[in-house]
């Protein structure tokens, strides 16, 4: 598609741009900066601030360059070559400053404020305005995260346009008119968007400020580094600001290939975990208690425990790519085991094969740009807003550009206004997806999805969340649906390190590059670099490792950045496992609930202290950079693994990060997938008896360990535990919305407040994975459990019930 080009001159310089380009963008291409406040390249033009005047030859009026598009032969003059334009801009700045409080010394924006910069550059030195300024009550907390100072506001409407056009949750809006116009929010409401922080960053003055950053620092205090957000697989580009070694702020960086210019509130405000007081930065070894010691002593002890013993590794999807590679190698060479897994889900069945496909078959991969340009998108088993928030914004962007979106999920997601939802019971996804494979069009949600995908052809996208991977077939059927309709396909993991760990082979069946450990040809490619592998039998996955540990079949269990009690969807199994393994080695930032179990602790460097890479869900490796040195004695994970290899009497073969990267690049580079077709037999319609399926997934803001210390974020967005149930199911059980219910499974029971909502599939109940006071993994033995019972609890009984919001034992 070639776009019509338009040639014009700006300040006498010729430039050719596509038709429809705004003058202000064309000027940017020439390096001419026109002052502006309301203009933002990712928002629709507003023309509100009137700062970006330009003169167009032959036109009597000045144009605002942020709203006027280019025309062939247009001769534009900016403030650089037109005195009229310059004077108009100065005059407009005078207008903007009339009612501005000029309180820069106490304003958080002072020092990095576009209004301040422009006032300094060409604003009038003295005010001609002698009357009293307009005043408002201030500061007003819009939420525990965002503070509003209306006096500083220049009413550019960037924040309200962001909420309207980008995040789609219009919490804030302009109220009143004239000089009394102001940003406001409905009385009694909080600005509860998980993207609220973006409005702060795009505010061109100090009207919206971040509470966690309030009065904390000045721009000149900060040392910064460009890095990547560690929270999820979205891979948002962020700038980390540090004052005297302490992280005080995350800001989004612009990257149109990844996060545009946005960042979710978790990525923006959950930055205190590296400085958390519970962090441990010295090695510990259990003697009577856990005693501080040296790395050497711990390594020697681990070497003694492990030689010739059965060793297993669990990681939580938080390892950087280099660390994952080092772990994959040390486990297989030094510890001679294939019992390693990076997943927190209990995956199984065809998902194992799919994992290999996901790593190797680049032809199938999807990028943010593909999503943005897609004509039809099917999102299955993924609540993008809660799990990969920036992907959620891209899906919304695609919808604005005309894509048809279908969501296949047991719960309605916040794409409700732009997508058609097909609510299906957990476990039923495969059956529903099969209808797309079979090409059944027609007048149902699935039918329309099938038709839309077929129409879109290569412009179709199927995104499968990790919840599909828990079903033996679902993810594979999703892939099949994509192949059948010509759509692109991607398995979207949740955590920042998931994709990199999969590629590096932190997986019981896969070596680096998705090579199968039991395929001699593929294994040989790895052995050419690593030397001969002695263990060629596929190992245990995460669930099997825990089961083996519980059965005393494992001697040493490495827990690298993972807490089985909190992270795996079966707390009882995790506890049995920890109780029955002789030696537990914890490698992490802190001990947390593992303190009673750990026999050795290896302090790892946190992400602001690291030079490494994270791979996004797309498969894009992005570099993270250190903004400070490792705290205390902590070391980067890969160095610890290298030390372990030495303790085991071997060597990883690299002493520096560069060597590691050089070695791994050959093994991780793309290659063709050589696996055969799966033994797919068709899922068939599931049979249901009258029982409920309990399912869970983590919400964006929960008790996760990387959110530690983010008190404002939690105050704003962390929900109390709740249980969602469909009205039909609630009626059968005489459950009323807002009351409390007891949910009982084979694993345990809990009393939780109930929400009766049609936004959940019939026959399903949902509890969030890890909200304060209720860890859902105590109710589950997997991410979903059939055969749950839910019963109403009388208010009086609930008040008297000591188990309220707590979890009992088995039934």
């Amino acid at each position: 598609m070639t776009q019509e080009a338009v040639t014009l001159t700006i300040d006498g310089k010729e430039v050719t741009v596509p038709k429809g380009t705004l003058i202000i963008r064309a000027a940017e291409q020439l390096g001419i900066e026109i002052p502006r406040f309301c203009d933002h390249p990712l928002l629709e033009p507003a023309g509100a601030c009137r700062q970006c005047y330009v003169e167009v030859e032959g036109q009597a009026k000045l144009f605002t360059s942020c709203t006027a598009t280019v025309a062939p032969g247009m001769a534009v003059r900016t403030q650089n070559s037109s005195e009229v334009v310059h004077e108009a801009q100065v005059a407009n700045l005078e207008f903007l400053l009339l009612n501005h409080p000029l309180d820069c010394p106490i304003c958080d924006r002072g020092g990095e404020c576009p209004l301040q910069d422009q006032a300094l550059a060409f604003g009038p030195g003295e005010s001609r305005y002698v009357e009293a300024k307009r005043t408002f009550e201030k500061p007003i907390p819009l939420s525990p995260l965002v503070g509003l100072d209306r006096e500083r506001c220049v009413l550019c409407a960037r924040c309200t346009r962001f909420c309207d056009q980008i995040s789609g949750d219009r919490f804030i809006e302009l109220f009143a008119r004239g000089a009394g116009e102001r940003v406001s929010i409905a009385a009694g409401e909080d600005f509860l968007s998980p993207f609220s922080g973006n409005t702060i960053q795009i505010c061109p003055v100090g009207a919206l400020t971040a509470t966690p950053y309030r009065f904390v620092a000045r721009p000149f205090d900060l040392s910064s580094v460009d890095t990547v957000c560690p929270h999820c697989s979205a891979g948002c580009n962020v700038k980390l600001d540090v004052r005297r070694g302490k992280v005080v702020r995350h800001l989004a960086r612009d990257n149109l290939d990844v996060n545009d210019a946005w960042l979710c509130d978790k990525g923006r405000f959950a930055f205190r975990f590296p400085d958390d007081e519970r962090r441990v930065t010295i090695p510990l070894l259990r003697d009577r208690g856990l005693e501080p010691t040296s790395f050497g002593e711990v390594m020697d002890a681990i070497g003694d425990w492990s030689r010739g013993k059965r060793v297993a590794f669990l990681t939580g999807g938080r390892l950087a790519d280099e660390d994952a590679y080092a772990l994959s190698k040390v486990a297989r060479t030094a510890f001679v085991t294939n019992d390693l897994d990076h997943r927190r889900e209990f995956a199984g069945g065809e998902a194992e094969r799919l994992a290999a496909v996901a790593v190797t078959d680049r032809a199938l991969s999807v990028t943010y740009r593909d999503v943005e340009r897609a004509k039809a998108i099917v999102v299955a088993g993924l609540d993008a807003e809660q799990e990969v928030p920036i992907l959620h914004l891209r899906l919304r962007k695609a919808a604005r550009r005309g894509a048809r979106i279908f969501v296949l999920n047991p719960r309605r997601t916040r794409l409700w206004d732009v997508a058609e939802h097909v609510l299906c019971r957990p476990g039923q996804e495969a059956h529903v997806l099969e209808q797309i494979v079979d090409g059944e069009g027609g007048d149902s949600g699935v039918g329309r999805a099938a038709d839309a995908l077929r129409e879109a052809g290569e412009a179709g996208v199927v995104l499968a969340g990790m919840r599909l991977a828990e079903h033996p077939l679902a993810a594979d059927v999703a892939l099949r649906a994509a192949r059948r309709t010509g759509a692109r396909f991607s398995l979207v993991p949740r955590r920042a390190g998931d994709k990199g760990a999969l590629a590096a082979g932190v997986h019981p069946r896969l070596l680096p590059g998705g090579r199968r450990v039991d395929d001699p040809g593929e294994r040989a490619e790895v052995e050419a670099v690593w030397g001969e592998l002695k263990n060629v039998v596929p190992g245990r996955n995460a669930k099997q490792i825990l089961e083996a540990a519980a059965n005393r079949e494992i001697d040493v269990l490495f827990l690298v950045g993972v807490d089985p009690l909190r992270d795996f969807p079966d707390a009882r199994l995790a506890r049995h496992a920890l109780e029955n393994v002789p030696y537990k080695v914890v490698q992490s930032l802190e001990l947390g609930s593992l303190e009673p179990f750990a026999d050795a602790f290896l302090p790892a460097a946190a992400f602001p202290e690291r030079d490494a890479h994270f791979t996004t869900w797309e498969g894009r490796a992005q570099r993270i950079r250190p903004v400070r040195g490792p705290a205390g004695l902590s070391r980067p994970d890969w160095e610890i693994f290298a030390g372990l290899a030495r303790a085991m009497g071997g060597s990883l073969g690299f002493e520096s990060l560069e060597d590691l990267q050089e070695e791994s690049v050959g093994l991780l580079s793309p290659r063709a997938f050589s696996g055969g077709a799966s033994a797919w037999v068709g899922a068939g319609a599931p049979q249901w008896i009258d029982e409920l399926t309990l399912f869970t997934y983590p919400l964006l803001v929960d008790e996760g360990r990387l959110s530690e210390g983010a008190s404002e974020l939690k105050a704003a967005l962390e929900e109390k535990p709740f249980l969602e149930i469909h009205p039909v199911d609630a009626d059968k059980r005489s459950i009323a919305d807002g009351g409390e219910v007891r949910v009982r499974t084979q694993a345990g029971q809990a009393v939780v407040p109930v929400r009766v909502t049609p936004d959940i599939a019939e026959g399903s109940v949902f509890v969030p994975f890890n909200q304060p006071g209720l860890a859902a993994n105590t109710l589950l033995s997997g991410r979903f459990t059939a055969g749950a019972t839910v019963e109403a609890v009388a208010a009086a009984e609930a008040a008297a019930d000591p188990e309220r919001l707590t979890v009992g034992g088995g039934p």
Partner: protein
């Protein structure tokens, strides 16, 4: 002309010059002494001199003038000033307005007494005093805290380190 062949008038001229030089010396011998016998005798600096330690001022109602804006720290060429801002409790404010200085430190091992911080202060909270006695026995003592800076300096001659004379 070679050396040793001095003519008589050169010799006389030399004598006259030597006498003039000695005249200056003798004149200086009888001039009054300007050396101050510090610390036995301490002359007060002129009343409006701003040559020494900083002072954080208060308004007449007792509120601190400092709003914790850090502009002094920004202006400081020696990076001697550390400021940490914080919210004012509206019920019990430390300074007028929303922000006050939770912490304020000046490191006098770094400070070069240039006064740029005073120039930068938007509320006239920071001024300099005449207290030029800046001798310390430890590095910690050289870092003045906010509490110290809010107090007027001790009279000259009473600061620790000036006693043993």
């Amino acid at each position: 002309m070679s050396r040793g062949e001095q003519r008589p008038q050169d010799f006389l001229g030399g004598l006259a010059a030597a006498a003039r030089g000695m005249g200056v010396v003798i004149k200086q011998v009888f001039r009054p002494d300007v050396t101050e016998r510090y610390p036995q005798q301490i002359d007060e600096p002129p009343p409006r001199s701003h040559i020494g330690r900083h002072l954080l001022n208060r308004y007449e109602n007792g509120l601190e003038k400092c709003i914790g804006c850090e502009l002094c720290a920004y202006a400081c060429p020696a990076d001697a000033i550390w400021v940490e801002g914080a919210d004012n409790d509206p019920e019990n404010p430390v300074s007028p307005g929303e922000r006050h200085a939770k912490d304020y430190q000046i490191n006098y091992l770094r400070c070069i007494m240039c006064g740029l911080c005073v120039e930068a202060c938007p509320t006239r909270a920071l001024t300099m005093t005449h207290a030029y006695e800046m001798a310390f026995t430890s590095r910690e003592d050289a870092i003045f805290t906010k509490e110290q800076l809010l107090e007027p300096p001790l009279p000259l001659g009473t600061a620790p380190g000036t006693q043993e004379g």
